[in-house]
Symmetry: D2
């Protein structure tokens, strides 16, 4: 670890020991953190079964290995679409099984944990809950992979410390997800911090993936940032795809079309090879 002094207590579980390789988290046979770069895709929110099926079919055809979709949506306004809830979870699980894709969905309340664990293969803790320590502690006591998104203005120290809450509880299946931080820039929704990917990969043994959709909020920036993320060393990419983005119930502006996603996948392959990896 030359050039970057260790900033965290030596005995933290998230830290990489010398020569320790990245922890590989196996999700139904699909390894995250290994040689291959995994691509998770799907709509922001699960809107209905047909749309999710169509999306899943298309993204899988283009090479996505996991399916994302929100059933509980953290919306700024209480009057915005809040997600389908349990009905959405059932749809997600059904389509995931049909398509043979592990599924990812967000948990917003520790009371929902049991329910979510029934239906999902990976839990996601969103940026707004990164320091919901009570939730993190409960996730630490279950046996399920979890994607921990970086908080809206979280430092890397806080992000790793949040992961430590989960590891300290006994659950070491944590995948970190960079999704941009707040800055004064208004033309992008967030400022995607790819240096955090490289820095966390150096400090920690946990796999790191990148969400260029929330990280930019702008459709045309998703592909360049996905390419950049893989070049920077990311272990995976999580991308929002919607068959008709302009009609999406949330985050349409940042969703790729299936065609755009297909194009992206073709661009990612040579980048992955250029850094000695491949797309799973």
């Amino acid at each position: 670890m030359k050039g970057l002094k260790k900033k965290l207590a030596d005995n933290m579980l998230v830290l990489r020991n010398s020569h320790q390789s990245t922890t590989v988290i196996n999700v139904k046979g699909c390894p995250i953190g290994g040689e291959s770069v995994v691509v998770v895709a799907g709509p922001c929110a699960i809107e209905n079964e047909d749309l999710l099926k169509e999306t899943a079919f298309k993204v899988r055809g283009s090479g996505a290995v996991m399916l994302r979709g929100g059933a509980y949506k953290p919306r700024t306004s209480p009057y915005s679409f809040q997600g389908l809830g349990e009905e959405g979870l059932k749809i997600l699980a059904r389509i995931g099984e049909e398509m043979n894709m592990p599924v990812v969905t967000e948990v917003m309340d520790s009371e929902d944990l049991d329910l979510l664990c029934e239906y999902t293969d990976i839990l996601q803790v969103g940026a707004r809950n990164m320091q919901n320590f009570s939730l993190l502690k409960k996730i630490g006591r279950i046996d399920m992979p979890v994607i921990l998104k970086r908080g809206l203005a979280a430092t890397i120290e806080e992000w790793l410390s949040a992961a430590e809450y989960i590891l300290a509880g006994g659950n070491s299946q944590v995948i970190l997800c960079e999704r941009g931080v707040r800055t004064a820039e208004t033309w992008t929704r967030n400022t995607l911090d790819l240096s955090a990917v490289a820095l966390v990969k150096e400090l920690s043994h946990l796999p790191v993936i990148v969400d260029p959709s929330h990280g930019t909020g702008v459709r045309s920036l998703v592909a360049p940032m996905a390419r950049a993320a893989v070049a920077a060393g990311a272990d995976g990419i999580m991308v929002e795809v919607h068959p008709v983005p302009e009609r999406a119930l949330s985050d349409g502006d940042q969703s790729l079309t299936p065609k755009g996603f297909s194009k992206l996948m073709k661009e990612l392959e040579p980048i992955a090879r250029a850094v000695g990896r491949r797309i799973y």
Copy 2:
């Protein structure tokens, strides 16, 4: 509302109608949002009964009307002191009753709501949970005053929208608390945004208080920022006080001594009068 265009949907419950006065929230006979400025004081964390009693006795003697103290602490690291939990709540309730001071404590998990409501007079939602929408919805369904702190990097729009989650549920006893936002400045813990106080007072009918302790993280800045907050129109101040700050289990650097707090109270009175108010 000259000079500041309304930025939120007209029908939001948090918004102030023309000529509407500030909502007064009555906590055991103590009004927040009225003509008087209220001062809430106490240690960051409840450490033990004697310390809390000593602190309560002294801050009450200097003019604080409410007592704060954390039983569940949101700490960056899982290895830091996490609070006394239920035992802390009991101590807080006991001392509050003895001293005849309404008490404030933080809720970190919706599962603890019932328990907390038994012991506290005001709930506090911390900055890290400002967008824990699931918690907000549940608080919306109970009948208890709540202090909603502004998130670490929350815009005013997001803060008011978070309050709207509570009001939309039927609970209109929301007190907003400005506690600083993240900036690149490292000599202060946060950058206290007093313009947010004036702006929110203009847009919303909810009372707004200020936490200069977390807002600066620096003891010597607490008094000037408390004075400035009252001058800017704040309806109250929430200050951390510890009998021996250097031995505090959390946030000692930003805690006033009882003597420092007493001095502050003497400074606040003329400022309050200067803006046509008084200290409750």
Copy 3:
């Protein structure tokens, strides 16, 4: 200096020695940094002689002691009004003399220094030039008071170090001006950091003034922030006033009307008294 460790090299000229009082900078008989709080007012840009005269007449009548007005304007776009240049300087000097008010104007280029010094009583270095070190060095070699605004995202350390460039050159007549920093908040133009005022007053012997006009960008927030600044310990306030803000060639949204300014002055007096000072 309890509670705040010294963060800068001991021998820096900007630092306050123990028991050293604030440096009083005398501008044509008007002291900045003394017991009295000074108020500088005027339009953002000098538009023409009549408007400046009207503004000066009114703000002086309400109690402003110095007149501000830009002849060289740092505008984001090259196609916006760039100021009247030398013609503006002449107008400013003429009105200042007529009204017996010292005048302040911004320097944007070291080549203009000689010219500006002929016409102005205080130079202003704007936020965008706070680290124009070449300009700072040249100002260090002249004998004229200078207002050094904090940079758009400058830390306090950088701000004090920028002042040090001037002091190191031999010119110790530096007045620091807090004018807000960049944050993710979009409803205000900047986030006015009043804790910086208290902190700098503690660390440095230089007077500190506050610009609530640029600091908020919102007319209705100027008065509350001006009051808060005085409560926090500011040695002065610099406010934009325009007879007809909606027709101003720049910064109309944040300009007070003469009437609004007059109201503000009445509000400031009791605040100043509450902190043991008065308005000059």
Copy 4:
């Protein structure tokens, strides 16, 4: 320009018209903005002739085509090494000629422009002078390529508007350089905003390069960010290299060794090919 609404006035010179390709800026036969990605390398500051010569020799051997080196250094503290001034310029020009490498150096004062133009092939306007509009206007009137770095907290709109100042003056040889923006993250010096590269490339016809050295401030992050920059579509990379970084008079922590630079160049080639380009 789908998915990203045009945010600037239609007639701005920096904007890309439909189907307009990137402006290629020719520097002594080396094209910036064309099919090839150019690499500029060299020490932060010119310290002496031998060191610069050694560095130039090595970076050229590894594939850098241009040489950077500061003669006038914008240092936070007036007591830090300020650069060799004209003597440094002479050294830079001499080594550039010897090695047949065009040279880049920073201008800090409009009064130095004539002198710098004698010695350099590309001017650099640093982040701290991005809105030194007086300097920009003067550069607009000369015939020399200029690298315009993004300001410390500049929005993309402000950055493009700053470039517009130069183009409006008649000089269209502007190369934009992303070098990170200020955030609350403290483990990196800045947060490199690669989405700005993709966004500016979409909006503007000007070439965009990236400085991963200042953009991260951490040696081990320079190579991953350089790779990511090329993957995101950057037209070039500017990297600090020093034979003995730990003895560098400035920015040693972020400087690559010649060996590290050589390794980076080998990594960049396949990334460039993956996006259909090559390293010049």
